[in-house]
């Protein structure tokens, strides 16, 4: 709760900095503020009174884990994105938008009332629409913002409709009351079913799962690369956490309604995301499609419909976000020197760029799910939580997807050692810090996989 207030306060500070003219400090202030927010979040572990604002938000340990994931990702993001906070007169706008999007994300993981979920999604999304278009002079950025906005607006429509239907049936917005309503053979069953499916569609848009993924590659490619990193980490984490809470808590007893649909969505996301990623020549697009396939894996935690799924989800989102941020840091730096983020830009960089090479190897292997890196345990936890009460079919599809994904993740690694090049990619201090933290986290999470069970 304190973290929510703190980050909101930071956001307002960003607006004030415009008026009171301390813009040049706002970048450093945001980093310090986020660090403080992380500390405050950990202090709230095992909170005895988790409900706030008349049960609108609820900070139990699961929510706190997700908030920690979001804030750590946010902090790493601020470090990697230093270059967009250069003194162009807009830095306070950008930092405010990012901080508010984190606020929206925190609302989405800690909501206890579907209206709060909706508010969270909108806070997050509107900030992201603006950020996607923040490179005003670039055509791609404009296209990206427009597409994102249109698609996002559709998704919002579905969500709102779904919320209305659920409210119509259960006469409540409260997650727990809806749960109670669902467990006792609900009346108005057709309203409930329609509402659940509409909500599933709306949220599947947000996590860019197949077949609601068409916006993702174009939006990712067009948006400024740092914003893409934000979209593929924080947005995805928040959306899947919200998805998990709504479906396993509120609709958990109605599993029969949504499990088949979501199983197909998960299987298709894993397969289509991975297969199309193989054919990409641009690393940003490759990461977009890999993000789609990861959405499929994440859905397994919801399908598992048990507590282990939630823990697995926190672990997986952290592992995925850290590796993705590292990958985007490298891509951003390489693209700024080479002018493009195609695979060919990476050729021969393995010679003289030690940190970049190690980061690419570690993050790609983690994303591909190769032990002993964090990504492997993420997938492993997801699969076992799903297998606790389900058959093995989807897991086999997941493993086939993993095997395919090795092809394109390793393609990036192999490219580093292809050809001869003595080029050195200069890294700023903050980029170096991000990469080192990401490597350490990815390896440490592999060695101490219980970190998300309070096993530290």
């Amino acid at each position: 709760m304190k973290a929510l207030l703190l980050v909101s306060g930071l956001g307002f500070l960003g607006i004030l900095s415009e008026i009171l003219n301390f813009k040049k400090f706002i970048y450093k202030l945001s980093i310090v503020g986020l660090l403080a927010a992380i500390v405050v979040t950990f202090l709230e572990w095992d909170n005895p009174t988790p409900a706030y604002f008349n049960n609108m938000v609820y900070f139990d340990n699961l929510a706190i884990s997700f908030i920690a994931v979001l804030l750590i990702t946010g902090l790493l993001w601020f470090l990697m994105a230093e270059s967009i906070f250069e003194n162009d007169g807009l830095q306070s706008d950008k930092s405010t938008l990012v901080l508010f999007s984190i606020v929206g994300a925190v609302c989405m993981v800690a909501y206890n009332n579907i209206t709060m979920l909706f508010i969270g999604i909108e806070i997050l999304s509107i900030c992201m629409y603006v950020l996607a278009g923040s490179k005003k002079e670039s055509l791609g950025s404009n296209e990206s913002a427009m597409k994102y906005f249109l698609m996002g607006a559709f998704a919002t429509g579905f969500l709102l409709m779904g919320i209305a239907f659920i409210y119509g049936a259960s006469a409540s917005f409260d997650v727990m009351e809806i749960k109670a309503y669902m467990s006792n053979s609900p009346q108005n069953i057709e309203l409930v079913y329609t509402g659940i499916i509409l909500l599933a569609i709306g949220l599947a848009f947000k996590i860019s799962a197949v077949p609601f993924h068409f916006w993702a590659p174009d939006v990712y490619e067009g948006a400024p690369i740092q914003v893409t990193a934000l979209m593929s980490t924080i947005v995805k984490t928040a959306a899947i956490a919200a998805f998990y809470k709504l479906f396993t808590v509120s609709f958990g007893s109605q599993e029969i309604v949504w499990s088949t649909t979501l199983s197909y969505i998960a299987a298709l996301s894993v397969l289509i995301g991975n297969i199309i990623a193989v054919f990409q020549s641009n690393v940003k697009r490759m990461l977009a499609y890999s993000g789609i396939s990861h959405a499929g894996y994440l859905l397994l935690a919801i399908l598992a419909n048990n507590a282990a799924g939630g823990t697995a989800l926190t672990y997986y989102t952290l592992a995925y976000s850290v590796a993705t941020i590292a990958a985007f840091t490298v891509v951003a730096n390489v693209a700024s020197v080479k002018g493009s983020s195609d695979f060919t830009s990476f050729e021969g960089l393995g010679k003289k760029n030690k940190l970049i090479t190690i980061s690419v190897i570690v993050s790609m292997m983690s994303l591909a799910g190769i032990p002993p890196f964090a990504g492997f345990f993420g997938k492993y936890f997801l699969f076992t939580s799903y297998l606790e009460n389900h058959s093995i079919n989807l897991v086999i599809i997941g493993l086939i997807g993993s095997a395919i994904s090795i092809y394109y993740y390793f393609r990036l690694i192999v490219n580093l050692f292809k050809g001869e090049s003595d080029e050195v990619i200069p890294l700023s201090l903050t980029s170096k810090i991000v990469l080192i933290i990401a490597i350490i986290l990815t390896v440490a999470m592999g060695i101490f996989p219980e970190i998300m069970n309070g096993g530290w």
């Binding site: 282990a308 823990t311 292997m365 190769i370 032990p371 002993p372 492997f376 936890f381 699969f383 076992t384 297998l387 093995i392 897991v395 086999i396 493993l399 993993s402 095997a403 090795i406 092809y407 390793f410 192999v414 050692f417 292809k418 996989p449 219980e450 069970n453 096993g455």
Partner: protein, 486 residues
């Protein structure tokens, strides 16, 4: 305690090496591998030979919620393979020393990390841990082959990686399945997996999940297609690691997981597996006969030997199993020796083409003798290391089926043919222009070859202590499989 030291020492040194530069790297790597070897010797000396159960155990909880323990320890089979690893690594490092590889720091560090992974595989007493190390061992060798390999390296290493990883993913599915069959709270510990009584139908398909992983690693026909290219294209230290130690991982996995967990599956599919192994043996031997590239020839001969080991293990006879374990050690040593002498040949003459070589014995008698001894060990001449293992293997396969033993036995003859023929072509003969480029062994080469030759003779003349170490573990294995020893 000693297992822990054996496991983590190479990891720590390997990681430290990344921070060092220049000549010190080689010295530190070599020193560390010798210390590791001495640790291995200590483990040998203190080992309780009568006991077939794992010794020197360490068992601490790792992922409590999933019943995964960090459980390591060594029984006789593990000990012999760990011994092989610690014995070969200093020699491989010393052998790599001569070739001037660019970025040697990374090469030596990766070799030590590889040792960490291999020892992890051979000592893991928890199936999940086994899987982790199985993959961890793959990563360094992939990069060794990718960074220092030949012209086709990108394509070939990729094929190798995808092949082996696909196999291990299947094993992972199998492991997760058996994990859920253990009584709650589920556990991955090998003992609890051994206690499972799975139905025959289940064992029948589980067998394949495990078999694919191990068959690809060995490799057994028809999963061998990555082998020749990878062995040939990898830098020599990589090839030595691959054929000397890593090819044993597949057999070891079969002994450790496949046999005790799905004994009924073996009863059902064993005949097919053993036939595949024998086909592979013949195929590889025939391929070896027609190779012009010396490194490729040895790659195929290595595949033939490992195929025979697999056949012996799947024969489920006492002799076949003990022979398999002994032969794993013997083959590791002779494969290293062969790749090393050929590496010397290639380095001095610049050619691996058999047709272009010849007339070396005239100028380098010591080299020719050392080569001959290693070669004879490889074709299993009595009193050399290859004989004991191969004899027991053949005996085991014969007890199982005399026809298979006949075809398997052909490999010994074929092996003698292509090995001696190649030796004749490359080393014997009159003085040629090649001879002028050649000079006899230098000190460093002698330092490497003498331990190899000593090991060949010790194993060949007095294999008793090694057999005594292997036997209780093999007996324990059979009692786990709850079938009578033939």
């Amino acid at each position: 305690m000693i297992t822990t030291a054996l496991l983590f020492f190479p990891l720590v040194v390997g990681l430290l090496l990344f921070l060092l530069k220049g000549e010190t790297v080689k010295k530190v790597a070599l020193g560390a591998s010798i210390v590791e070897f001495l640790l291995g010797v200590v483990a040998f000396v203190n080992f309780n030979k009568g006991n077939g159960l794992p010794q020197y155990e360490l068992n601490i909880p790792w992922i409590k919620s999933l019943g995964i323990n960090f459980h390591i320890g060594m029984d006789g089979i593990s000990l012999l393979l760990v011994g092989l690893t610690t014995f070969l690594l200093p020699l491989i490092i010393l052998a790599a020393n001569r070739n001037s590889y660019k970025n040697p720091t990374n090469l030596y560090a990766l070799m030590l990390l590889m040792q960490f992974g291999l020892i992890g595989v051979f000592t893991a007493q928890d199936a999940f841990l086994f899987y982790i190390f199985w993959e961890v061992a793959l990563i360094p060798i992939y990069f060794i082959a990718l960074l220092w390999g030949g012209e086709q390296k990108v394509k070939i290493t990729f094929k190798f990686f995808i092949y082996t990883l696909a196999g291990s993913l299947l094993m992972l599915v199998g492991l997760i399945y058996v994990y859920f069959q253990t009584p709650a709270p589920h556990s991955f510990s090998l003992t609890s997996l051994y206690e499972l009584e799975l139905t025959n139908g289940t064992q029948s398909w589980l067998f394949w999940l495990f078999f694919f992983a191990f068959a690809i690693k060995m490799p057994v026909f028809p999963f061998h297609s990555w082998l020749a290219d990878t062995y040939t294209d990898a830098p020599t230290p990589g090839t030595m690691l691959l054929s000397g130690i890593m090819s044993k991982m597949g057999v070891y996995g079969a002994i450790r997981l496949l046999l005790p967990i799905v004994p009924q599956g073996i009863m059902e599919w064993g005949p097919l597996a053993i036939t595949l192994a024998i086909i592979g043996v013949l195929y590889a031997s025939l391929m070896a006969m027609y190779q012009k590239d010396y490194k490729r020839l040895i790659a195929y001969s290595s595949a033939a030997h490992v195929g025979l080991i697999a056949a012996g293990v799947f024969s489920l006879t006492h002799n076949g199993m003990v022979g398999g374990v002994i032969q794993m050690v013997a083959h590791g040593i002779s494969a290293f020796g062969l790749f090393y002498v050929v590496d010397i040949l290639v380095n001095r003459t610049g050619s691996r083409d058999l047709d272009k070589l010849g007339g070396i014995r005239v100028v380098a008698p010591n080299y020719a003798t050392a080569f001959l001894i290693i070669l004879l060990a490889s074709i299993a001449l009595p009193l050399t290391s290859g004989f004991v293992g191969e004899f027991l293997l053949m005996a085991g396969i014969y007890e199982y089926n005399s026809w298979l033993a006949f075809f398997g036995g052909l490999t010994t003859i074929l092996g003698a043919v292509y090995m001696l023929k190649s030796y004749q072509k490359a080393v014997l003969g009159d003085k040629t222009e090649i001879s002028d480029k050649f000079h006899d062994l230098v000190l460093q080469e002698k330092i490497i070859l003498i331990p190899v030759i000593l090991a060949i003779f010790i194993l060949g003349v007095y294999p008793k202590p090694f057999i005594e170490i292997a036997e209780p573990a093999v007996k324990n294995l059979f009692s786990l499989m709850s079938i009578t020893i033939k």
